[in-house]
């Protein structure tokens, strides 16, 4: 015990003269400091893969998310009507179960003209329902309402419904789906968002330059 107390850095050495204190800066104290630095360095290197792993989902490039997927035959969607279609998300993982399913509203305007809306309300993402008689989409959560073309009718949403890009391949209706549509993640959606807050803004949003702003 007494042997240990002789060592530098111990409380009993505090009343030592300066010379003795200088002598206390021994190889051991130096090596301890070096070992701390060594651990900081190792920790920093280790943090790179750990943080990278943690942030992995956020780092994915937008362009790689999503793909084209057929959601049904054109004959399933009568002209002038809006029907619910569902499909399995092309970005689903092995363990997604029912949550891999995605629903969308398909409006067939004419023979070759469609609109495919996400069911997710532009306010906070709840599933909107179509009412054919009043030609409205209504949201059950906070009462957002949209007209048949997806534009905002009333309620808290600040814009119209999210709209998927589509193309017609043979008899099939094919849409581009990926991210769950939110205000920030609508890469899979149509270039032109249906902004309807006020007429002036809607006009501005319909120009191609403005639409990129929503791509965030």
């Amino acid at each position: 015990m007494s042997e240990l107390l002789e060592h530098p850095g111990e409380p009993s050495n505090n009343d030592l003269p300066p010379e003795a204190k200088a002598a206390a800066h021994t190889r051991r104290a130096f090596l301890f400091k070096v070992s701390v630095l060594l651990n900081v360095a190792v920790g920093a290197v280790l943090a790179v893969p750990l943080v990278g792993y943690l942030l992995g989902p956020a780092m994915k490039k937008r362009s790689t998310t999503g793909s084209w997927i057929a959601i049904g035959l054109m004959s399933e969607f009568p002209v002038g009507e809006t029907r619910l279609a569902d499909f399995r998300s092309p970005v689903a993982s092995f363990d997604d179960g029912d949550t891999a399913k995605v629903a969308c509203w398909v409006r067939r305007i004419s023979e070759k003209e469609f609109q495919v809306f996400a069911v997710n309300c532009a306010h906070l993402g709840c599933p909107v329902r179509w009412f054919a008689q009043s030609k409205l989409f209504l949201c059950p959560c906070h009462g957002g309402a949209y007209y048949q073309d997806g534009s905002r009718a009333s309620g808290p949403p600040e814009r119209g419904l999210f709209e998927y890009r589509y193309k017609l391949v043979g008899d099939s209706l094919v849409i581009h789906a990926g991210d769950m549509p939110t205000l920030a993640t609508q890469a899979s959606c149509k270039e032109k968002p249906l902004v309807q807050i006020d007429p002036a803004f809607a006009k501005a949003a319909s120009t191609p330059t403005r639409s990129t702003e929503w791509q965030g």
Partner: protein, 506 residues
């Protein structure tokens, strides 16, 4: 007998000599505390701790059966509810325990605030406590996700939608929250990790620090009007008070904590027994859009608030208000660490607690019946009251059909039945003129969609005729007062009074 006693003492000595914890813990439990602290107002913190232990124990037991996989989570809850003996009761205890814990933590916080117990030297105890409140709410939200049903699914959607409003990094944040591009298995896994490992670890460590600081500084003495807290004198005064009136915390003060904790636990057991577990609601299948998602009780007020924020300030409020609120709570003890503690001399504090409590209560109440939401099936399920159809013309009755068919009832009530998003229509014609009603129906406005595209002229005509019959107690219909003026004006123009200059008669 003496032999057994001596043996027990010897075993105790053997253990304590090696462990060295029993003596210091006993000393901590029996530390002297001012006699005025043996109060029924000082029991909430210990009750919250007991509830936390309860949540940990029931949580571990549920994890024996629960399967944190998007494929199986919902089914495993069904198995817990119906197949595992007493599984339903464990789920009920855990679910009700969550609500109880949030309630007790909030009451504890209000009590500490009103008693000024966050002031010197207990500032850091309060700051850690704010962290514990946020962690408790974090447990509640992640716990709602564990109940992987439709409410959980769309609750995650709401969370992602809020995240997506963050400027610039909205998309990465959404992906980080969901663990991928969509709500799915990865989302459940990360919320399971948060709910079972990360937040409970932080919570238990935080509670340890919180209790350590309570022991270090002692339980705050009962506030007296006019006895001010000064950093230079408070600790000496506290020691003097403890020296004069001190009683051992265990058992002289702690028995009230124990009685209250037992009462709360009994109430929790009774709620769990009589009301049962929460859900799960339907399967987390987003193609089932006949879903009316709702958050759990603790978050209903936020859900309600989000219905009332004006569109153009919603994003700033959602993103800034929580930061300001949390910052205010954290800074409180640093900015008001000295001075008066008694509530009677701190009217602003009392007012704040009252206003916040009433506000939370009102918004929670609104969240239970969501008057802002359309009732999706009211148009087919809510009949027109028969008296509104008596002695009506065929055209007016046709209008009643239009009213039903165009889903007007989803947002408008008749005799209290229907949606409450728009005004009740029972007396609409005594409040609006025919012209105003036509304009409102066709062009919308004031939170009502325009129905011009959804109604043909015949439907509009009959609908308006029916609406014009809705004037409670057979009042006269509303009239446009400008009509009379216009009419009078025309009359005047036709027969100008003699005094008027004869402008039009050259």
């Amino acid at each position: 007998m003496a032999g057994i006693k001596e043996n027990a003492a010897a075993v105790y000595e053997w253990v304590e000599h090696r462990l060295g914890l029993i003596r210091p813990l006993t000393a901590a439990a029996t530390h002297p505390t001012p006699a005025s602290n043996a109060s029924w107002w000082y029991v909430f913190g210990s009750a919250a701790t007991v509830l936390l232990i309860m949540q940990v124990v029931t949580g571990i037991l549920l994890a024996l059966v629960y399967s944190p996989s998007a494929n199986e989570a919902w089914s495993s809850l069904g198995i817990l509810n119906h197949n595992v003996p007493l599984g339903w009761y464990l789920r009920a205890l855990h679910g009700w325990g969550s609500d109880f814990m949030i309630a007790i933590v909030l009451i504890h916080m209000a009590q500490v605030f009103l008693f000024g117990a966050y002031k010197f030297p207990r500032e850091l105890t309060w700051i850690v406590g704010v962290g514990l409140l946020l962690l408790t709410l974090g447990m509640a939200f992640t716990g709602q996700v564990m109940r992987f049903d439709q409410d959980a699914y769309w609750g995650l959607g709401i969370g992602a939608s809020i995240m997506s409003r963050v400027p610039l990094i909205g998309a990465p944040l959404v992906h980080l929250l969901l663990g991928g591009p969509i709500i799915g298995g990865a989302t459940l896994s990360r919320f399971f990790t948060l709910h079972v490992f990360v937040i409970p670890g932080l919570l238990l460590a935080g509670v340890g620090v919180h209790i350590w600081m309570t022991l270090l500084h002692g339980v705050s003495d009962w506030p007296m009007p006019g006895r001010l807290v000064h950093k230079s004198t408070y600790e000496r005064e506290y020691q003097e008070l403890t020296g004069k009136t001190g009683i051992p915390f265990v058992p002289d003060a702690a028995w009230k904590d124990a009685v209250f904790a037992a009462t709360i636990m009994f109430a929790l057991m009774a709620c769990a027994f009589f009301f049962g577990p929460f859900g799960p609601t339907g399967t987390p299948d987003p193609t089932i859009i006949q879903s009316v998602p709702k958050p759990d009780f603790a978050f209903l007020w936020i859900y309600a608030l989000l219905a009332f924020l004006p569109t153009n300030i919603e994003t700033p409020v959602i993103l800034v208000a929580p930061v300001l609120g949390i910052a205010a709570m954290l800074l409180l003890p640093l900015l008001a660490g000295e001075g008066e503690r008694h509530w009677a001399r701190r009217p602003v504090a009392v007012l704040m607690v009252s206003v916040i409590a009433v506000t939370l209560g009102i918004f929670t109440r609104l969240g239970t019946y969501t008057p802002w939401s359309p009732i999706m099936d009211a148009w087919t399920s809510a009949p027109i009251p028969p008296q509104y159809l008596h002695n009506r013309t065929p055209l007016e009755r046709q209008g009643a059909l239009v009213l039903q068919d165009k889903q007007c009832r989803n947002c408008h009530t008749l005799e209290g039945v229907g949606g409450q998003r728009g005004p009740a229509l029972d007396t609409i014609a005594s409040r609006m003129t025919e012209d105003q009603i036509i304009r409102q129906v066709l062009q919308g406005g004031g939170n009502m969609p325009a129905y011009g595209n959804a109604l043909n002229p015949a439907e509009t005509k009959s609908l308006i005729r029916f609406l014009m019959t809705l004037r409670g107690e057979n009042l006269a219909p509303a009239v446009d007062s400008s009509h009379a003026l216009t009419h009078a004006d025309q009359t005047q123009t036709a027969q100008p009074p003699s005094s008027a200059p004869a402008l039009k008669t050259p």
